[in-house]
Amino acid sequence: MTTTAVSETTGAPAPAQIGLVDTLKAYRDKVRGGDIGSLPAILGLVALVLFFSLKRPNNFPTAFNFANLITQGAAVMVLSMGLIFVLLLGEIDLSAGFTAGTSAAVMAKFMANHGWPWPLGMLACIVTGLVIGTTIGTIVTRLGIPSFVVTLAGFLALGGVQLAIVGEGGSIQLPGKAVYNLDNANLPIWLGWVLFLVVAGGFAGLNYYRIIARRRIGLATSSLSVWALKSVTIAVILGLATAFLSKQRSPASVASIKGVPDVVLLLLFLLLSLTFLLVRTPLGRHIYAIGGNAEAARRAGINVPLTKTFCFIMCSTMAGVAGIVYASNANSVSAQTGGGTDLLLAVGAAVIGGCSLFGGRGRILDAVIGGLVVVVISNGMLLLNLKDAYVQIFSGLVLLVAASVDAISRRRAQASGG
């Protein structure tokens, strides 16, 4: 008799290989069980793109507009990626928009008035976000004030700070081209294709490696046909996008505009590195655990306050990065940068993408998918010459639908358990 739990190896039978049919079945069960992920967002995105393409065949489905969608949506996506960290906890950061604006204002001020080179300016921007996040996170976790209230206070105060830096009614122009290029320049065509090869090849290669590693140990894996189908799908989507963006898309024949936008590089880097952090590290696992059941996480020995503070720091730091993108997009920083509906669109993007407002469920990819939905709505509706009022009303309704899907799927998930 032994007390070790893992004494007898079970000598598992030949590792199970989950084929295409079973994969689809498992996915159906998952959806039925209330875990629908990004499915509604992707279906909605396809429907919206089809609708606008039919309505405005000459304007909407063009390479020029496609590149526009990316550069217009980039800042919201980055802001949304940061917000996912706090949403995963079941918390909220209402101040993220003005954190982005304030950070951008700090950067612009240093660059325009003090002649700082752009790397230092960007660093100052990110550090500003980091400091704000540390403050918010510390107040929320140490004083136990709900994040809603703390960040509402931050929203008001930071809006004022930003106004003070920029000056009443004014805006700060960014000197030089470096910041401007981030959300306006394009990669050379060849580099776009290299990027495509690295991402599509990397996706296929890493998954293949994973399957082989698991199979060697005797764990269930998806079959190679499922792997091939997934890899080819990703490669085709990314390949088409790259090809589309590599076309000459200048509306006037004077200048040449072609290539994958620079900002895609930033989005990909953030998407991959933050996903890696959430999925592959113990810290990421602990963030999900706290969102699912904070008491269970505490009893499991996880440092809940520290982990939560980290999430607020991540959120505000990403807001700083988003601030750079906002500034780049407009080539200037005003008191409105990051204000208005920017924050709400970013929260909306995360929720539309499938991130739960109740915590514990969400991926960084949700920010990208949801961000695309949000930007397609505003872009497409403006192309239909609809007034901004309707754009806002429709965006609000879509967000409401997404939040309802979230709430209903959460209820289903609870009902399907014991």
């Binding site: 893992v6 696992r285 699912g292 020995g301 399907s416 358990g417």
Partner: protein, 283 residues
């Protein structure tokens, strides 16, 4: 009646308690919650801890788990006195607690829950393959056949399956003492049976199991030894097969049953409240 003593069968006569408490006191302010409590937990046995609401069961196990220290008394483990000041210290000794509310994260899968807070890493990254294998082996080792895949989310499990996962998590760490707080409280008949079988198997594998339960049927079905708390005092620790349901109920509700339990009031109940649990002190 000569069943007053915890009559250890001869085969177990040399089986010293793995964990024992002697003269434990604990007060919260002016309220004495535990008064001179003795308890023995043996490897390979299920020891049931019973008592009415407010008898001090929770306080007793929280002290065992290191959530707070006892005021006085000795806590010995493997015959040596130990000081358990934190849950981590208890875990280090091989003591794991499965709380009534299970403390599972619904949004994570079985593997993630079993390794929560103690994830295995390789170069600082989660070693999913190794964790999944060990989780599967542990469940198989406990003859758990009810879970389809260790990659299921806990939200999709039934009450019995969740209890199973919580228990499997506790034994994953080569633990030697597993404390189960009301494991069958929320379960149906079939699931209760499954969990009780699992509890029995834990003991048969050589673990010391402390089972807190309100359900006398469960206790009598599975316990080798029954310890009864009554108003903060351990009134008896008896062999499970030596008592009847009604005797245990009397001990729980009145503190005594025939020769068992407290000496009647007036005969110096306070000092004579002995727990007659020394093996072989009566025959």
């Amino acid at each position: 009646m000569t069943i007053a003593a915890d009559q250890a069968p001869s085969a177990e006569a040399g089986n010293a308690p793995l964990l024992s408490l002697r003269g434990i006191n604990k007060s919260f302010g002016a309220i004495e919650v535990l008064r001179s409590v003795d308890l023995d937990i043996r490897a390979g046995e299920v020891t049931a801890l019973v008592g009415d609401n407010g008898a001090g069961k929770s306080t007793l196990i929280k002290g065992l788990a290191g959530i707070y220290p006892y005021d006085s008394g000795t806590y010995s483990y493997e015959g040596r006195e130990v000081h358990v000041h934190s849950p981590k210290a208890a875990n280090a000794l091989g003591i794991e607690v499965v709380y009534q509310d299970l403390a599972l994260c619904d949004n994570l899968d079985i593997v993630h829950n079993m390794f929560l807070g103690r994830e295995e890493t390789e170069h600082g990254l989660l070693d999913e393959v190794s964790m999944e294998r060990k989780a599967g082996e542990t469940l198989a080792g406990l003859s758990v056949r009810t879970v389809k895949s260790v990659r299921q989310r806990v939200a999709s499990l039934s009450g019995g399956q969740r209890q199973t996962v919580a228990i499997a998590r506790a034994v994953l760490w080569n633990s030697r003492v597993v404390i189960l707080d009301e494991p069958t409280a929320a379960l149906g008949v079939a699931q209760t049976e499954q969990v009780l079988n699992l509890v029995r198997r834990l003991a048969d594998r050589g673990l010391a199991v402390l089972l807190i339960s309100h359900n006398m049927n469960d206790v009598l079905q599975v316990a080798d030894s029954i310890a009864v708390l009554y108003l903060g005092q351990m009134v008896a620790q008896v062999r499970g097969d030596s008592v009847t349901n009604s005797q245990v109920v009397e001990l729980i509700t009145a503190g005594r049953s025939g020769d068992l339990g407290m000496v009647p009031a007036g005969a110096g109940a306070r000092t004579a409240s002995t727990s007659s649990d020394e093996p072989g002190d009566n025959s």
